[in-house]
């Protein structure tokens, strides 16, 4: 769906991108991960031609973007930046309607669509439609930004640290909701972040970049298990094992209940990492697992978790 072929971007003597080749399949969520200045935002912005590569080619849906009109191209892609950039002089509803209006949709159609989008990102249209951006909290503004990017139902989303400016609990909630949305909408998403945990949590594949080059491009599990270069190893750091637990669903590790009733339990939907944290915090060796109604359905042993990690290690 999106393909970079040997993309180079130079500013004078500085090489921001040193020949990036990468392919993002349709419906995949790929994060561009790396330290500041690694070229991840530059790479993202070559897709909607906010930046023109010095060399190389970017393809979207098998068409060279240089052959497409920049304005038309951008209208066909959702775009969210870290500071969101909501238009302060427009109401929330008008903000969300921007792209449909640029595309010439009829008033009723774009209004209905904008309200639908607000509801989709968890903002009650009746409450929020008429507000101005200065009346929103950080998390609400991020949601409006996402609704605005989704409004014209673009097949591609370009997200540049979209959850970077909110507090950690809000960020986690936004990530969860975004993942849920993505599982329904199946957009092709390029997602820039410098937050390893965020990347591990949401990605189908992670493209870890450094100095304008791709260090490794793999699914999170593979990246965490087999770092290819010393840079990747040091970027992932000592917590990579813990992070791997976060990609293991608890489902396969649950054992049936025995006579012993664990005093602490976690929900069935939690990750192995949450189970591990809970075990560490409580000092126990077994943990109850409850279903959606709160009923105990099984248990997880510390040994099982440890075995799961080392199995993966092998």
């Amino acid at each position: 769906m999106i393909r970079f072929e040997n993309v180079v971007k130079r500013y004078g003597d500085f090489e921001a991108l040193g020949g990036v080749s990468l392919e993002v399949a349709q419906g995949q969520l790929v994060t561009l991960l790396g330290p500041s200045g690694c070229g991840k935002t530059t790479l993202l912005r070559t897709v909607n031609r906010l930046i023109e590569p010095t060399e190389g080619t970017v393809f979207v849906g098998n068409r060279d973007v240089r052959g497409l009109d920049g304005v038309e191209l951008r209208r066909g892609m959702g775009y969210v930046i870290q500071s969101i950039g909501l238009f302060p002089h427009m109401s929330v509803l008008e903000n969300v309607m921007v792209v449909p209006r640029l595309l010439g949709w009829k008033k009723e159609k774009r209004e209905a669509r904008a309200k639908e989008m607000l509801a989709l990102v968890g903002l009650e249209p009746q409450t929020f439609a008429g507000r101005y951006p200065r009346e929103l909290s950080g998390g609400q503004a991020q949601r409006v930004g996402l609704a605005r990017a989704l409004a014209a139902d673009p097949p591609v989303l370009l997200l540049d640290e979209p959850f970077g400016a909110v507090d950690p609990p809000t960020r986690e909630r936004l990530q969860d909701e975004f993942l849920k949305l993505q599982s329904e909408l199946r957009k092709t998403v390029l997602f820039v972040t410098h937050d390893l945990e965020e990347a591990v949590k949401i990605s189908d594949r992670i493209c870890l970049m450094n100095g304008g080059r791709v260090e490794q491009y793999d699914p999170p599990e593979v990246l965490l298990r087999r770092p290819k270069t010393p840079f990747v190893q040091s970027f992932l750091g000592p917590s990579r094992t813990l992070l791997r637990l976060s990609r293991i669903p608890l489902g396969g590790l649950i054992e049936p209940l025995d006579s012993h009733r664990p005093s602490v339990s976690i929900p069935h939907s939690a990750s192995a990492r949450e189970a591990f944290s809970t075990l560490l915090a409580s000092g126990l060796r077994t943990l109850g697992v409850s279903d959606a109604t709160g009923r105990l359905v099984g248990l997880v042993r510390l040994e099982t978790l440890l075995a799961a990690v080392s199995e993966e290690e092998a």
Binding site: L73, Y79, G85, L86, P88, H89, M90, L102, L158
Partner: protein, 234 residues
């Protein structure tokens, strides 16, 4: 609106003014300027002010937009210097210099005031259009606004508060300075002031000055209200 009606009504009460000024200046032979009613002088004054103000907007704002586009950026320093000269050049001197071309009457005054009032509008316009939040512009571009659409739908509305503040400063400045118009045969509230100076009648001077001050306060207030109404999002 109500404020303007009230002030114009008050200014039309010629006999009340006469009584008031007789009281304030008991020694003056003729306490009230009576060659023209105060109301007429006010209307002339406003006509000159808004004539010059309209010229300022019609010329100033398009120039500002032009030099803030990439194509016109080279002319920006020139424009800034020209409007600065326009304001530092004394309006009285412009009046006299324009006399041979524009003749006697209000048009010379309108020209002088136009040059004088251009600076705040241009300077604020430039400030407003060049200090827009870069993230908003980036988002606008990334969402597919074409250049002209971006100017109309994003840049101008966002710069509006600063632009309006410039217009307000400019109009109030023009209103006060329009009192020089009678020097070249124009009308307005400068007429009693200058007549008063000529015959050493303080009462005439106070009449003209007080009326101008009243109008200036009212104009400033009106434009402040307009700013609020046009930018409900702030």
């Amino acid at each position: 609106m109500l404020g303007w009606g009230l002030v114009l009504f008050l200014l039309a009460q010629q006999s009340i003014w006469k009584a008031l000024f007789s009281l304030l200046f008991p020694s003056a032979q003729s306490p009230l300027f009576e060659r023209e009613t105060l109301l007429n002088l006010t209307l002339q004054h406003l006509a000159i002010t808004f004539g010059a103000g309209a010229l300022v907007l019609l010329v100033g704002l398009p120039l500002v937009v032009l030099v803030t586009r990439p194509a016109g950026a080279a002319f920006r320093p020139l424009l800034e210097n020209l409007v600065a000269v326009g304001q530092t050049f004394p309006p009285v001197a412009v009046l006299v210099l324009a006399l041979p071309f524009l003749g006697f009457g209000s048009s010379g005054a309108v020209l002088a005031l136009f040059l004088y009032g251009l600076l705040p509008v241009v300077r604020n316009g430039l400030e407003g259009l060049t200090s827009l939040p870069s993230d908003v512009l980036d988002a606008a571009k990334g969402m597919g606004y074409a250049r002209a659409q971006m100017l109309w739908a994003v840049e101008l509305p966002l710069a509006l508060p600063v632009i309006l503040a410039g217009i307000r400063t400019s109009l109030v400045l023009i209103l006060a300075t329009a009192t020089v118009a009678p020097l070249v045969g124009g009308g307005g509230l400068g007429v009693p002031i200058i007549a008063g100076l000529a015959v050493s009648n303080l009462a005439y001077v106070v009449q003209g000055a007080a009326a101008v001050a009243l109008l200036a306060v009212l104009l400033d207030w009106t434009l402040a209200r307009l700013e609020q109404a046009l930018t409900p999002w702030r």
